[in-house]
């Protein structure tokens, strides 16, 4: 099967720091491919480079292709309109806007927004339409961030640490949702929680020191405890304890 996304020899330098040094991998056209690695290894930087959000002064080299189309050097809004959905780290919902306004923002001229699909996945969003997004719980904000992207058709979803800082029960809910989403759209997922990875991922790409350290079948990676431990610094499939929530947004990875 042709991969949906090919990343070839991707190097990113930000403020003089080489964060990625020749990263190459592909994303399968179906199911979830998970991007793993220790903190600060450049996972978020990779996603942001794909969607064209490398900070100013950052330097991106290499190639990123979706099908025959090169993604590099195209403005973010074009990429997104071209079918690249992006759910950022820390959700980034617009706290001062209502839930309905957050969703309305994602509407596009000339297409019909799939509200029925989104509300079927997240009935809560329908009920809380008039509530300010900033007053939602972390899990609800994550639902909103995902729902916002699902209003439009996507060819590929990039999802950055959707379970970060969430309570265990909510983590399970988010994982369920992503599982259903992945039935129709391929997903490139950054995730630290190995239980979630075990449940969702087919392919896995492990980054270490700005390069791809391992790539292959995700389930096989998780079976080989020693390998997992050496690559990720964790031994069991329990995953990390949820990180302390509420930190300021942005800049965790490789800044």
């Amino acid at each position: 099967m042709e991969p949906i996304l090919e990343v070839e020899n991707l190097s990113v330098r930000i403020a003089g720091l080489h964060i990625l040094q020749g990263v190459s991998f592909t994303v399968a056209p179906t199911g979830v491919t998970v991007l793993l690695g220790r903190n600060g290894v450049g996972k978020t930087t990779t996603l942001r480079a794909i969607v064209g959000l490398t900070p100013r002064g950052g330097e991106v080299r290499g190639a990123i292709r979706m099908g025959a189309q090169s993604l590099l050097a195209r403005p973010t809004h074009r990429l997104v309109r071209g079918g690249l959905g992006y759910v950022p780290e820390d959700r980034c919902v617009f706290a001062g806007l209502t839930v309905a306004e957050n969703l309305r923002l994602a509407e596009r001229r000339g297409t019909t927004p799939a509200y029925d699909k989104v509300y079927a996945l997240f009935p809560e969003l329908d009920r809380r339409g008039r509530q300010r997004a900033g007053s939602l719980s972390g899990g609800q904000q994550q639902m909103l961030a995902i729902g916002r992207v699902l209003l439009n058709d996507n060819r590929l979803l990039l999802v950055d640490e959707p379970t970060k800082g969430l309570a265990p029960k909510v983590v399970t809910e988010v994982a369920e949702v992503l599982e259903r989403v992945a039935e129709s759209v391929p997903v490139l997922l950054v995730e630290q929680n190995l239980a979630v990875v075990r449940r969702l991922a087919r392919g896995a790409v492990v980054l270490a020191a700005g390069q791809v350290a391992w790539a292959g079948d995700a389930q096989r990676l998780l079976l080989e405890t020693a390998l997992t431990k050496s690559l990720l610094g964790v031994g069991s499939a329990e995953g990390h304890a949820p990180a302390a929530s509420g930190g300021p947004a942005g800049g965790k990875d490789g800044h």
Binding site: L53, R56, P75, T76, H77, P88, L105
Partner: protein
């Protein structure tokens, strides 16, 4: 009693002027991170274009409908200049904040010099309808109509901007962009169109301030925008950058403080109190009364 009413209303007139300048500055800064030193130029263009139209534009004049037409012409000119500045000078430097500030600094120097070259450095009498020269009795105080006109205009502009932000698609984009510009583009929206729009809104409001300020002061001079701009900056910082409502509150606070202290204290003391207020607000609440964090 009537002194207090008079001071309150003239203070509010001043506040209205500040608000008209500050609202645009605040939106431009909140959305695009541009500290726009050329904003005073938009005000100057509005004032001079109104002045010019009243004398030269067919149908326009210093009174009645002709005056309305002259003001409309001035506002249109200010808006046009603001849009051109954004498209030609600011946009190529997208997200290079310091360079953008430098360009607006150069523009403010060159623009004021250009106004001066064209119409001279001296203040010129501003055309104004007769009724703006008269006073209206409010609770025993004789309040100049020019000031009341400014207050009404500012309230209308405030209402219009808030309605625009609240009810329109672009208003939604601007509100979201002030919070997190990057995320707006990540939803597939070309946020730069909204930049042009806030420049247009800011230019129009500033040009209106120029025209009505001309009516209020009775004269127009090239440097008028510059001195107003500094107080507008203070209003923007106190109000919280990016917040139109915050700007309105801060403008009222600054205008009243300035007017009362200048009257009951020494002339000029009010201006200094305003800066002291700024220092206090920054020490207590670096993010301003409302809105976005000012320390970014």
């Amino acid at each position: 009693m009537d002194t207090i009413v008079l001071l309150t209303l003239t203070g509010l007139g001043l506040a209205a002027l500040y608000f008209l300048v500050a609202s645009g500055l605040s939106l431009v800064f909140g959305l695009a991170d541009v500290l726009n030193f050329a904003h005073g130029l938009f005000l100057g263009v509005g004032a001079y274009a109104t002045w010019w139209a009243a004398g030269n534009l067919p149908g326009a004049g210093g009174d009645g409908f002709g005056f309305l037409l002259a003001v409309a012409f001035g506002v249109a000119a200010g808006t046009l200049v603001a849009v051109l500045v954004e498209l030609v000078l600011i946009r190529p430097l997208y997200s290079r904040t310091i360079e953008q500030v430098l360009v607006t600094v150069g523009l403010s120097l060159a623009g004021v010099a250009l106004l001066q070259a064209t119409w001279g450095a001296d203040a010129r009498p501003f055309p104004r309808p007769d009724w703006t020269r008269q006073v209206t009795g409010v609770l025993g105080a004789q309040v100049p109509n020019g000031g009341l006109l400014l207050i009404i205009a500012a309230v209308v502009v405030l209402g219009a901007i808030l309605a625009f932000l609240r009810w329109t698609r672009y208003g939604l984009v601007i509100r979201a962009g002030v919070e997190n510009r990057e995320m707006v583009t990540a939803l597939g929206i070309d946020v730069r169109k909204a930049f042009t729009l806030v420049f247009a809104i800011g230019g129009a409001a500033a040009a209106l301030a120029g025209a009505l300020g001309g009516v209020y002061f009775g004269t127009v001079s090239p440097g008028q925008g510059g001195s107003l701009l500094i107080f507008a900056f203070i209003v923007v910082v106190i109000g919280g950058m990016g917040s139109v409502v915050g700007s309105a509150y801060a403008a009222v606070a600054v205008g009243l403080l300035q007017q009362f202290v200048n009257y009951y204290g020494t002339s000029g003391l009010g201006d200094i109190c305003v800066v002291a207020l700024l220092a206090v607000v920054l020490l207590l609440r670096p993010q301003g009364i409302a809105g976005k964090v000012a320390t970014a």
